[in-house]
């Protein structure tokens, strides 16, 4: 019981709380940045893979396909390790930033780039799913109205494709938040790594002089609770959006043929 109170007292220490909260901020910043950049880059990849079929452009289609398949079929940690060695970090990031040392800032940049290139391949496939669900008639209608290819994509195809995949994209945000914990393997930046660091120093803070089992449960339990609150809120939003789009589709017309509902959170 004494040990347990000691572990709980650690969470009352303002320095430790601030340390953990900074981790939460980093986790969110890294994930949101990765997803936003991935949506842009993933859309380009998806469009190239789907529509660069003219003989002169086919090489781009192959390149996009290779990119997507390579990143989809290898682990994230693999790319983080590679990023640490091979990705160049601009000198801009070789400074102390938000309480990180200059080395950690560089690692933060490289690992975020690795997370982004990995996530962009998955998001490209999600957006491609949305593009494939748009009937051919939409293209023909656009062209018949005198739109150019770029205009058809921008004004007719992409808005519909995005609307179809909003729930899947949101659940990809959940996956990315969970995936950002992989950064714990290389540096103490985000939530998971910080909790692990506190655990390794718990004997100093909990007043008993040793690391106890209760420390493991209290510290990781606290981290699990934070992750759970963030992700559960998001998954409730996902369900709400899904219901809304389903209702909209039903009230608009009889459900379209082959309109299968995606299984959410497809990427573990």
């Amino acid at each position: 019981m004494n040990e347990f109170m000691g572990s709980l007292n650690m969470l009352k220490n303002p320095a430790i709380l601030l340390f953990i909260l900074k981790g939460v901020a980093f986790t969110l910043i890294i994930s949101v940045l990765a997803v936003v950049v991935s949506i842009v880059w993933g859309s380009i990849l998806a469009l190239v893979r789907n529509y660069c079929t003219a003989p002169g452009q086919r090489i781009f289609k192959w390149l996009a396909t290779i990119y997507i398949e390579v990143f989809r079929n290898t682990p994230l940690l693999f790319w983080i390790f590679i990023g640490l060695v091979f990705f160049p970090a601009p000198q801009l990031f070789a400074h102390q930033l938000f309480g990180l040392s200059s080395v950690e800032t560089k690692i933060l940049f490289k690992a975020t780039v690795a997370l982004t290139v990995f996530t962009s391949a998955i998001i490209a496939e999600i957006i491609r799913g949305g593009l494939n669900s748009i009937p051919q008639g939409q293209f023909e209608a656009g062209f018949s109205q005198g739109f150019s290819t770029v205009q058809v994509m921008l004004y007719i195809i992409l808005p519909q494709a995005y609307r179809n995949v909003v729930p899947t994209l949101l659940s990809q945000v959940i996956t990315t938040i969970k995936d950002s914990s992989f950064l714990a393997n290389v540096a103490t930046i985000e939530l998971m790594a910080r909790v692990k660091k506190i655990l390794s120093n718990a004997s100093i803070y909990n007043g008993t002089g040793t690391i106890n089992v209760s420390d493991v449960f209290v510290l990781f339990g606290c981290a699990a609770l934070i992750y759970f609150i963030i992700n559960y809120t998001l998954s409730c939003v996902v369900r709400h959006v899904q219901k809304k789009t389903q209702n909209a589709a039903q009230s608009y017309a009889a459900p379209a043929a082959g309109d299968t509902q995606p299984v959410t959170g497809g990427n573990g």
């Binding site: 398949e69 390579v70 989809r72 079929n73 290898t74 682990p75 994230l76 940690l77 693999f78 390790f81 590679i82 060695v85 091979f86 959940i174 938040i177 969970k178 995936d179 914990s181 992989f182 714990a184 393997n185 998971m192 692990k196 655990l199 690391i211 106890n212 089992v213 420390d215 493991v216 449960f217 990781f220 981290a223 699990a224 992750y227 759970f228 992700n231 559960y232 998954s235 009889a254 043929a257 082959g258 299968t260 509902q261 299984v263 959410t264 959170g265 497809g266 990427n267 573990g268």
Partner: protein, 239 residues
């Protein structure tokens, strides 16, 4: 990317090929055991969602929501450190198998739930009216029909599970990624970054690419068939 064409680096990788083979075998063993565990958990927990008992449905919801909304890395750390600090010793691979199996079991449960939920209610009622037991109903009537819906997403989950064996690194694992990292940073073997990572990535790609391609082919076939089936039903309804 220096070192990719250096002969000595490639020779070093070749001399230490046993490291990569060992890692590959460990990753495969862990994955296969974890796949079996996750499929078992997935079926059991997935069927709970379909049951009439409120307790079983609550267990399903709590399990799925809690496991899906926390990172795998956190779960494996809790399991490993909780056991380590209370004096029990579980092998690293066993720890990995349990946590991977439990984590992907939650995803499998959702896949099974969606697959079984897609079967029309009449099938359940028909089976009941013919006097099938619960097991018989599921085994002979429901699961054979839902298997084609279940198969593509569950193969995708298997691919994710194989990729996620990388989490073993945080508890000092002996899977392919960890051994590769130890190889490139080791005192006697260090430096051969490009060839070692290329070999490691190629090995992962070799297993995962066929599986994920198979899953997407099945999925698109299913969608085509589904579209035709729905169109036929519409026609029948119009008549």
């Amino acid at each position: 990317m220096s070192g990719l064409f250096s002969e000595s680096a490639w020779m070093m990788v070749w001399n230490y090929r046993d490291t990569f083979i060992l890692g590959f075998i460990n990753t495969l063993e862990t994955s296969i055991a974890a796949i079996i565990l996750s499929l078992t958990l997935g079926i059991v927990i997935g069927l709970m969602a379909m049951s009439t008992s409120k307790v079983l449905r609550t267990i399903n919801r709590v399990y799925v929501e809690f496991i899906q909304n926390t990172p795998l890395l956190l779960q494996i750390c809790v399991l490993y450190y909780a056991l380590a600090f209370s004096g029990y010793k579980l092998g690293i691979l066993i720890t990995g198998i349990i946590s991977l199996g439990v984590y992907h079991g939650a995803y499998m449960a959702e896949v099974f739930r969606a697959g079984i939920g897609a079967i029309s209610k009449g099938q359940f009622e028909a089976a009941d009216s013919q006097g099938f037991s619960y097991i018989g109903k599921m085994y002979y009537i429901i699961l054979p029909q839902s298997i084609k819906i279940i198969l593509p997403p569950s193969v995708n989950q298997i691919v994710n599970l194989i990729k996620n064996t990388a989490v073993l690194y945080i508890i000092g694992g002996s899977d392919l990624i960890s051994l590769t990292y130890n190889f490139v940073t080791g005192a006697t073997t260090g430096g051969a970054y490009a060839p070692a990572y290329l070999v490691c990535g190629a090995l992962f790609f070799l297993i995962c690419f066929p599986l994920s391609t198979l899953a997407s082919i099945w999925e698109s076939n299913l969608k085509k068939k589904d579209g035709m089936g729905a169109a036929k039903e519409k026609k029948v309804a119009e008549i």
